[in-house]
Symmetry: none
Subunit: 194 residues, 4 copies
DNA sequence: GATGAATGAGAGTTCATTCAT
DNA sequence: AATGAATGAACTCTCATTCAT
C-alpha cells in the first residue's frame, strides 16, 4: 500500500530524521513531520503505513546505504585485520558525520516495541552477517583465534561499537567519535591482558 | 511526594516487572499493574509519581541490589583479572536468573525518553564506576595494558556484555546466558588476534 | 489554534447552550455536547481549545450580538432618559426571549474561575462602557444629576438589572421578566424617596 | 451526621476561608484545608458532610453573624431612610473589613451548582426579608413611594450593592468600599433624574 | 474522636489514521 | 496523487470520600 518512492517520500524521510532527532519519537506528531516536509498530513500515509513505519523505513534506508558503503570499503582491504579495523572506523565515522541519524538510531529507534520488529532486525542482520564474515575470514586466514565462537565475537564487537556511539550521542558529542576507532580496535583485537 | 516504602510499594514493583515484561511498557496500563498488585489504581500514585516513575524505580531498585551483590563478589576476588571475569559472569548470571527483569532492562527501559533520564543514568554510573575501577586496578597491578583508555575500555566491556544479553532476550533465550561469560571474558581479555 | 468559524462551530455552540442550561457546566461532559451537536468528541477540539473555552466563546458571541443590537436600539432614542429606559428593557427582553442563554449567563458562567477571566470581563466591559456613556450623556444634556459618579452609577444600574434577571432565572421564570423593565427604570431614575 | 460545633469545627472553617480565598473553590483540595487547619483529612468529614458543605456552612455562619449585626444596627435607627442608609453602609463595611470572606462570597460561592442550593438561598432569604421590611416600613411611614413593588425594589437594592462589592473584589480593592455607601444610597434613594 | 492510607469513579484531551473531495 | 477536516479510541491521573485502627 505504501508507495516508498518519489520526491515526497524523500522529503518526508528527511523531515522525520530532523524532527525525531529534535523532539524524540513519542513527542513527535505525524503532523509535525508533514509540516516540516511541506505536505498534508494525509500525504504521509500515501508513502508510509504508519508513524512507526516512518521510523523503521528511516532505519532501513540508512542501513542499506551503510551496508553498501561498508561493503565497498571492505572490498578494498587486504586482510581480515584491516577489514575489522575499517569496519569499526566506518561505523563510527558514518554516525559522527550524521548526528541526527545517530540520535535516531541509538535512542529513538529503541523506543519501538522490540518484540516484533522484523523491520529493525532484518536490516541489522545484514550488518551482523558482514561482521561475522570478517571474523570467519580472519580465522580462515590465520589472523584470528580459531577457537572463538563467531556469533559471540560478533556480539562483542557490535556491542562495543554500539555502546561507544550511544555514549557519544548521550554526552551531546563534545569529542570526536571516529578518533575512538583506533583504541576500540586495539581493545577488541588485542584485549586487556598484557 | 511518592512514598517509596512499605509492603504495597513492593507489590506494585513486583507486579510491574511481571506486566511490563509480558506486555511491554507502552502497552501496559497503570490499571493492569494495579490489578496484578491487588491495589486500587489510585494507590499506585501514593507510591509512585507516574507510570514512568514505576519503570525507573524498578531499574533503580534492581541496580542497587545488583551493584551491592557485585561489590561483595568482587571483594572476594584476588586480582583484577579475576574481578573482570567475575563481573562479566555476575552480570550475565544475574539477568539469566531473572528473565523478567532482563526483559525490562534490555528492552522496555530503553523506550523511555532518554533525553532527560537522570533516573536511569545515575544508577548506571555506579556500575560504570565499578567497571572502571577494576580496569584501573588491573593496570596498577600490571595485569592490564597500561596504555588503554579506561573510559573507552569500560564502554567496550559494558557494550559487549549488554549486547550479549540483549541478543539473548530477543532470541527468547534458547541457550544459557551465563555459559557465555567465559568466551566473552576470553575475547575481551585476549582479543581476536593470535 | 481553535478554528472558531464554520457550520460545525455553530452546531457545537448551539448544542453547548442547550446542554449547559439543562445540566449545568460541571455536570456536562464534552462528549454530551459533541453528541448533541452531531460531531465526534475530537471535533470539538478543532473549534475550541477546551471545555471552558466553549463556555467563554458562548458568552462572547452572545455579548457581541447583544451589544450590537443594543447600539441599534439606543441610536433610535431621542434622549438619555429614553436610552436608559430602552437599555433596561432591551437587557431584560433579550434574556427573557432566550432562557437557555439566560441560565448560562446568570448561573453557569459564574462557575468559571473568575481570577483569570479576561475572556468574560472584556466583552462585559463593552457593555459597561455603553451604560456609562448613556449616563454621561444624561448628565451633559441636563437630564441626570451631574454630581453622580458615573462608574458607581453604572454598577448600581447593572447590578440592579443583573439581580432581577438572576432572581427570574432561579425562580424558574413564572412571571414576565420584560414587564419589570418599567418598575426597574422607575426605581433607578426616580429613587425611593417621595 | 456532621458535628458542626467545637474547636476543630472553627479551625476548619477559618482555614477554609483563607484557602478558598487564596486558591479558589475548585482549585482547593480538602487536604489543603485540613493541613491549614492542622487536622487529618478524615477529621474534616466529622464536622462537614462534603467539600461543598464547608463552603455553604461558611456562608451560613457569615450570614448569621451578618444578619444579627445588621439587626442591631437597624434597631438603633430612627426611620426607614436612615435604616436603608445604614443597611447599605453595613453591607459594604462588613465585607471591606473581611476581604477573604468577601472574595469567597462574591466569587467562590457562585461556583456551586445554583440549581439546588437551598443552603445558599435560605440564609440569603433572611437578609432579603430584612431589606423588604425596611422598604415596607418606609412606605408605611410615608418616606418611600407607596407604588413601588417591594420585591422588585429589594432586588434593585441588593443587586446594586452586590455589584459594587463584586467590582471591588475583582479590582483587587485599590479603593475604599465603605466610602461608596453614601453615593450608592443617594442613587438608590433619589435616582438619576434631576 | 481522630487519623491518614486506601479507594476507584470519572472525564478531558490527544493524535494517528481515514476518506470524501 | 494530494488534501486536511473529521474521527473516536485510548488512558493517565486526581481527589473527594471512606473506614479500619
Amino acid at each position: 500500500m505504501a508507495k516508498r518512492t518519489g520526491e515526497k517520500y524523500l522529503s518526508i524521510l528527511l523531515a522525520a530524521i530532523k524532527i525525531f532527532a529534535r523532539y524524540g519519537y513519542h513527542r513527535t506528531r505525524v503532523s509535525d513531520i508533514a509540516r516540516e516536509a511541506g505536505v498534508a498530513d494525509g500525504t504521509v500515509y500515501i508513502y508510509f503505513n504508519s508513524k512507526e513505519d516512518i521510523l523503521i523505513s528511516l532505519f532501513q534506508e540508512m542501513m542499506e546505504q551503510f551496508v553498501q558503503g561498508l561493503q565497498t570499503e571492505l572490498d578494498a582491504c587486504g586482510n581480515a585485520e584491516e577489514k575489522l579495523k575499517k569496519l569499526i572506523h566506518y561505523h563510527l565515522e558514518t554516525l559522527e558525520k550524521q548526528p541526527d541519524q545517530a540520535k535516531v538510531t541509538q535512542l529513538e529507534l529503541r523506543q519501538i516495541d522490540q518484540s516484533i520488529n522484523e523491520g529493525i532486525s532484518r536490516p541489522l542482520m545484514d550488518y551482523f552477517q558482514m561482521i561475522e564474515e570478517v571474523i570467519k575470514e580472519g580465522q580462515d586466514t590465520g589472523f584470528f583465534r580459531p577457537e572463538i565462537n563467531v556469533r559471540t565475537a560478533r556480539k562483542v564487537i557490535f556491542g562495543a561499537i554500539d555502546e561507544v556511539v550511544t555514549s557519544w550521542v548521550m554526552s551531546k558529542k563534545p569529542y570526536s567519535l571516529s578518533n575512538l576507532s583506533e583504541p576500540v580496535f586495539s581493545l577488541l583485537s588485542r584485549g586487556f591482558l598484557i
